[in-house]
Amino acid sequence: MGIVTTPVAGRPARAAPAIGLTTPRRRRARWVPPLMAVAVVLLIGGLWEGLVYLGLPLAAGQRSLHVDHGPLMVLGFLGTLIALERSVALGPAWSYLAPAGAAVGGLAVICNAPNGVGQAVVTLGGVILVAIFVAVHRIQASLHNVVLASGAMCWVVAGVLWVANWDIPRFIPWLAGFLVLTITGERLELSRLTGRSRRAEVLFVGAAGLFLGGLIVSLFAEAIGVRIAGAGLCCLAAWLARYDIARRTVRGQGITRYMAIALLTGYAWLMVGGALWLDIGRMSFADLGRAAHGSAYDAMLHAVFLGFVISMIFAHAPVIVPSVLGRPLPYNRWFYVPLVMLHVTLLLRLVGGDAMHNKASWQWGGSLNEVALLLFVGLAAGAVIRAARSQRKAARPPQPADGSVQEAQAAT
């Protein structure tokens, strides 16, 4: 049976377009689950060291794990997930080198591989991620793709500085750059659905440019650069609050409303983080792990990395996990529990701990931040497993009653 399609009357027939991407179902390589499993290992390693930072009486593990908590969480754990999401979407086998680099390199760092091998492999993953965005740009050029590519470039810069043995606080703004530009690039793309104006586009470019400019200046003049980047974060947060689609979709229901609430609360934390960067300027973890509380550094980073970024992860997991894994993750209202817990315990950590210098608040807040994150992972994993079971049950043919099997076979 042949296929004949007819274009709309009055329009010229279009030639069959070149398809740049393969069929999504075929894109999911078999090694997606192993890469996600490595991401979970990196998460657990990073969380363990987070507890050590908080001063809990735990074994500190490898030195590299202790020192590299930040880069491991951002480039190892989140880098693997973000790059995996992009490689699944693009399709070709080479694109999987990006998450593989982040995952394998992260594991090498945890295992204390010599001569900065792990850091170099993680950085290579960032280079491949840039190549993914170049490939996407060749299919369809767009401003938001340039922003996403800039985020990947921040990964590469942070990785190179990591390999070069820079102090982590000196390049941690670039780690934030990777995540902030990746997330805001996505939001810029979606803002087209609200009829984004040219003015909004210009404002976004100004805010992102200010942030990126601050990152560059921070390489030479740390305090000034961090302050400029902080101003950029505030502008980006204000832009998101004004132009993001979540403002409209928060009036929706179910998963749409849940995602919007997670996004909007995340934007509030981005504004807080930006204000702290702007006010404090200098990043130093001299007091962290010794004084173990009252740390400006702790507040500057975790407002952004936990309040903003993890809130985004909670928001998008119900749609990204099914896309990447090929298994449904049905939304349920329990997802609000870890979300609320994350924000409340972050308030406890930053206000009670960092601002009011209460060590117990800082430790409880920080520990419960991790509980919220693990609770979300547990809820999501449980939902995926339950959905897979019910799918298998639905696919199974109904069993005939006793004695009817032979009758059915005889009948055929």
Partner: protein, 130 residues
Amino acid sequence: MFVRRRGQRPDGQDPEGNGAIATVQESDDPGALAAQLYDMLHEVIDPEVGVNIVDLGLVFEVTLTDRLADVRMTLTTPGCPLGGYMEDAIRRTLTRVPEVDDTHMNLVWEPTWGPHMMSHEAKRQLGWVS
């Protein structure tokens, strides 16, 4: 052979004007089936925006050949991570029809998606128009 175009009125005009079409061929009741498959795609919602993929202007053409429903469509941007999610949702939705055994999401990047392809209803839902 039967040809049904998206949003086609009895006079053959395309009120949406975005070039989307739906074709079904050589079925016992192709008109009804074409309408059914196309309408069923209204159930596939982009979870983040809460609007279905037809009203978002993402679906260009649906064809049914040898019990395989081929959905020629685009995404708002290449490399959109939601592609896999959409494909699964389309498959779950269309294979509820006994005449459809499987689906194929045929992603294309021409014409380039733009907000002008959204229906009035989608724009209303997202607050562009009242």
